[in-house]
């Protein structure tokens, strides 16, 4: 039989970002999922390489297996086929707080050099901000208490700042060892995945350092998109492009976000 050579399917930067995030999740991982890219990535992992992954949504869904992707964290599609649905106090107090979650996904309007996240206010002061963001949601405790945190965020100099305007969620504070000093039980951001590549804390300084590039991205691009002098890991690697299967599942998933237009019981 002749081997037919195919050109790899072209892909968007956001798709690479989502696939890279999905690859962080091993089978059996207990994963606290936010809405948007994290939800897409976690479900991509569940459908491809990690069928035994346990997805927990802060709306109280444990062991979610949504048939289509939810638009919000509380779409009815999350309830069907889930192992359990619990109250919001229970999901935070019984499941997140005691450290039962392996990986928590987070994002932010600002991410700083030490992986701290801001989703509260930008500019001005707290009472009179230039931009009022949605606020904390579940993020501060996810950042504090999950064994590992994966941050998913697009990389621009406005987002990747030297110091966040407001610490909504703690990464590594202002130096290595700060998490221990604060008594935070979780491990902090293991990796920050962007549309350019991935950053990880330097083992000595806890400063976010470029550890991988997506296919086609460059170190210069990453540096230009970062608001501090970005260090590059000596082991810088290039992420594998999305496989055909990853891309196919991802595109099928994203096409279903929020389902079709429906009337609310009228």
């Amino acid at each position: 039989m002749a081997v037919v050579e195919r050109r790899p399917e072209p892909f968007e930067a956001d798709e690479m970002m989502t696939v890279a995030a999905a690859r962080q999740l091993r089978d059996g991982t207990v994963c606290f999922v936010g809405i948007g890219l994290p939800s897409t990535a976690a479900n991509l992992a569940r459908i491809t390489h990690a069928p035994g992954i346990v997805l927990i949504y802060e709306s109280g869904i444990i062991g979610a297996r949504p048939a289509t992707l939810p638009l919000s964290i509380g779409d009815g599609v999350l309830v069907e086929g889930a192992d359990a649905v619990v109250s919001v106090p229970e999901v935070f107090n019984y499941w997140l707080q005691p450290g039962r979650i392996d990986v928590g996904f987070l994002t932010g309007a600002q991410v700083d050099r030490f992986g701290n996240l801001n989703t509260t206010v930008i500019g001005g002061d707290y009472r009179h901000p230039l931009v009022r963001l949605p606020g904390a949601g579940g993020a501060p405790e996810i950042a504090a208490l999950c064994r590992q945190v994966v941050v998913l965020v697009r990389q621009t100099p406005r987002v990747f700042v030297n110091r966040v305007d407001f610490v909504t969620s703690v990464g590594y504070g202002s130096a290595a060892g700060d998490r221990g000093r604060l008594g935070l039980s979780g491990g902090g951001p293991k990796v920050v995945i962007t549309d350019i590549g991935s950053l990880a804390p330097d083992p000595d300084t806890a400063e976010l350092t470029l550890v991988s590039l997506h296919p086609g991205s460059t170190v210069e691009q990453a540096r230009a998109a970062t608001g501090w002098p970005l260090q590059v890991s000596p082991d810088l690697r290039v992420e594998e492009p999305p496989s055909d299967r990853e891309l196919a599942v991802l595109r099928r998933l994203t096409a279903t976000i929020g389902g079709v237009r429906t009337h609310g019981g009228e």
Binding site: I35, G36, E58, S59, G60, P70, L71, S72, I73, G74, D75, G76, V79, V85, V86, S87, V88, P89, F92, N93, L96, Q97, T120, Y126, R127, H128, P129, L130, V131, R132, P134, G135, A136, G137, G138, A139, P140, E141, A144, L145, F166, V167, T168, S169, V170, G173, D178, L182, G183, L184, S185, I257, G258, G259, R261, T262, H263, G264, G265, E266
Partner: protein, 276 residues
């Protein structure tokens, strides 16, 4: 035993200007119809409490009902900003809006403290963040056994809590299922409560995952079919995700917002659902 009344009677009887009012529902079962009735009855100076303000609070804030907002995440889920909320905080329009801001874990525990009759709740939270510096209802408490310092949050005791549920029986026992949010705690934390329901039935047939609020713990029940729209009631309706997306453009501009509110809420009699 809860009294079974109409939603306009219930709002007139239970919600007064200046009250602290919680409308809860975590994406699911948001009591939009009751919120619209509060807008129609022109309540002012409310302290609005809600983990996820959502569109209903964007509407109430934009219509000037609120003096203060207690919350943990104020966005249009999966879509973007709440423009009326932002306009109030950033520009004081239509009136300035004070905020008291928490995390979800903090808000959930504040309701639990209220529901369980304690003045505060303890959690592992807020450490290292900038929130405690701006929010006086976050403090610290020392464990009398280990000496460990933990976060403490003040109990929430709303004057009124309003939630939507699938069903009630004629004795006012309320049944809800699907995503449960913090509704049970919010009702039990409040001095008075209103539950709007899809239907009042003779007997509540129990369902997996349902929660019952006994009639003696609820003040009023009102039958409002579709009363959660554009949110939803599992088993009765689907979330109107398209309306959530459309709200972004309706609400971005003050005039377009006011025009929509006039037509869909103020000039509606609240019995027909005209919000989409």
């Amino acid at each position: 035993m809860a009294e079974i009344v109409s939603v306009d009677e219930a709002i007139a009887a239970l919600v007064a200007d200046g009250d602290t009012v919680a409308l809860e529902g975590f994406t699911h079962l948001i009591p939009f119809a009751a919120g619209h009735e509060i807008i129609r009855q022109g309540r002012r100076d409310l302290t609005l409490v809600r983990m996820t303000p959502d569109l209903i609070y964007d509407q109430m804030i934009g219509m000037g009902c609120a003096r203060r907002l207690i919350f943990s995440w104020g966005g249009n889920p999966g879509v973007g900003s709440l423009h009326r909320f932002r306009d109030a905080v950033e520009n004081g329009w239509p009136v300035p809006l004070e905020i008291e801001e928490h995390s979800h874990a903090g808000m959930a525990n504040r309701y639990v403290a209220g529901a369980t009759g304690l003045p505060f709740a303890v959690l592992r939270g807020y450490v290292g963040t900038d929130l405690p510096a701006h929010t006086d209802t976050i403090r610290w408490v020392t464990c009398p056994f280990t000496g460990e310092v933990l976060a403490a949050v003040a109990a929430l005791r709303p004057d009124v809590t309003v939630v939507h549920a699938q069903r009630a029986d004629r004795r006012g026992n309320v049944q809800m299922w699907g995503i449960l949010g913090v509704q049970k705690e919010a009702v039990l934390a409040a001095k008075r409560s209103l539950v709007t329901v899809e239907e009042v039935v003779d007997t509540l047939e129990r369902r997996p995952g349902d929660v019952i609020l006994p009639g003696f713990s609820v003040t009023c029940v009102a039958e409002v079919p579709g009363g959660a729209h554009p949110s939803y009631a599992l088993g009765y309706s689907l979330r109107d995700n398209d309306f959530y997306r459309r709200w972004d453009s309706i609400s971005r501009d003050r005039d377009s917002f006011l025009g929509w509110m006039r037509e869909a809420v103020l000039e509606s009699d609240g019995r027909r659902r005209t919000t989409s």
